[in-house]
Amino acid sequence: MLRSHNDAHNVAILCKQVTKEFYVFSHRTNSLREWFIRTLQRKPKKLGFSSFSIKKFDLCVEQGDSIAFIGLNGCGKSTALRLIAGVYAPTDGTVQTFGQVGSVIELGAGFNQELTGAENIALYGAIMGLTRKQLASKYDEIVAFSGIEDFIQLPIKHYSSGMVARLAFSVAVNLNPDVLLLDEVLAVGDQAFQTKCIERLRAFRSEGGTMVVVSHNFQLVSQLCSRAVWLENGEIRMIGEISFVLEAYQQFSKNDVK
């Protein structure tokens, strides 16, 4: 029902005037003693002061579109991605996503070192919201894609970091969500695996999947994305066709170095 309603617009992600404010604690830890003292002194009840991360962020991504977030460290790329993923709730404004959202923001988050590769695939699938039946139908594909069939029954603490990354990425890309969010996770594995990942993501796009990528690898995003958003201090500095934005950003970076 929802889908048909939105088919008219074909919108996958809609952010309206999104603002995200974080509580930043003025000390290393937040302690009960401090809270009591503040309460007694009738200082503001808020636990810390807030800092803005995203300000009045507007974005509309259509189905099948692929968009890159670029910008300096700390400009709010990951926060924007987490807001779209629904991990953070916006302080103000609305974020809407249509369809199933798969997010790979920290590679291997939720993996457990003691469990085997196979068990971790099941766990990760469940985290992504898959039922057991759905996962079973994709299991072989995931294992084959990861290329670590021989180690799949070993606890992943015996894996190399590259193998863990391969496993996590294989699960994420083979789940076929409607909207895929990737945060700087493409730079995993060896050259061969990277090429395979890029091919898989292109196939995902051509099947009508929507993608948002955060990356500093411009060569990669220009292969994968059609549009780019350049963020600066939590605000959109430029949005448009990928090569155009990348060029402007690179020009800016060069000037910055000088």
Binding site: L2, G86, Q100, G110, E114
Partner: protein, 275 residues
């Protein structure tokens, strides 16, 4: 993908358009996987496996029985039966609450990476402890049936209801402990002391009738007092508890659960960010 299996959008979940039980049902697979993970990780690599879970409370029980039936003599028949009928419920409360303090921290990277209802984290911890408790209570029942009961008391049929009430109460407390211990790190240090104090203040190893008349009403302000009293009446005395006691413990548990859930919903967002 089958359209009926189609996940509602994350924003719909957050707006609360979906009631909690539907949310949990949608993510039942995650709940199941997390429970299995907890149990597997805990047991598969230790040599004695499951036995360790029971050895720990069993040793405590042995010490308590030795002390309170031979040194400080508590005037109660078959003290060991009295003790085991309530002790494991207490052990469950203790384990779940001390685990609740670290739930957000333990799942920080996961909950910052993928959306899922955060309630699942609390519930999966509660359920995995419940599995251990159920095994313990079954052993207790077998021991009581073999060595203590002359006949099977009809009050045992209340036990499942009792366990449900206990689960509701403990889940509510876990909701609040989980968020409060992220907001105030002190709670992690304070909670063990609080739990130890409650062990002595709650009629776990002594009957509620030993509490002086003058302070007994106050002792029932402690939510665990009523619960433990119910366990003692149902398992040890083998009688039906009064409707007043049963009703008040149920209401108390429901109130704790609602309050805890309210606190949790209010602060879970901040907890995900700062955990």
């Amino acid at each position: 993908m089958d359209p009926s299996e189609y996940a509602p959008t994350t924003s719909q979940f957050q707006n609360g358009r979906y009631p909690i039980f539907r949310k949990i049902w949608r993510y039942r697979e995650l709940l199941r996987s997390l429970v299995i993970r907890d149990l597997k990780v805990k047991y598969q690599r230790s040599f004695l496996g499951l036995i360790w879970t029971f050895l720990n409370p069993l040793l405590t029980v042995a010490v308590l029985i030795a002390v309170f039936s031979h040194i400080i003599r508590i005037q109660i028949e078959e003290y060991w039966a009295f003790l085991i009928s309530g002790f494991f419920a207490w052990h469950f409360i203790q384990m779940t609450l001390s685990h609740a303090t670290t739930i957000f921290a333990n799942h920080a990277s996961l909950s910052r990476s993928v959306y899922f209802p955060r309630e699942i984290l609390i519930l999966s911890t509660a359920v995995s402890k419940l599995v251990e408790f159920l095994i313990e209570i079954i052993i207790v029942l077998i021991v009581l049936l073999v060595f203590y009961y002359q006949w099977i008391p009809s009050s045992l049929s209340l036990l499942p209801v009792l366990i449900m009430i206990q689960l509701v109460m403990v889940t509510g407390l876990m909701f609040s402990v989980a968020v409060i211990s992220v907001l105030f790190h002190d709670v992690q240090h304070a909670l063990p002391i609080v739990i130890t104090s409650f062990f002595y203040l709650t009629p776990v190893f002594y009957p509620a009738r030993m509490i002086p008349e003058s302070v007994r009403p106050f002792s029932f302000l402690n939510p665990f007092s009523g619960l433990l009293e119910l366990y003692h009446q149902v398992l040890y005395e083998g009688g039906w508890p009064s409707i007043q006691l049963f009703g008040s413990v149920t209401v108390y548990a429901a109130a704790i659960c609602l309050l805890g859930y309210w606190l949790f919903k209010r602060y879970e967002g901040i907890c995900v960010e700062i955990a």
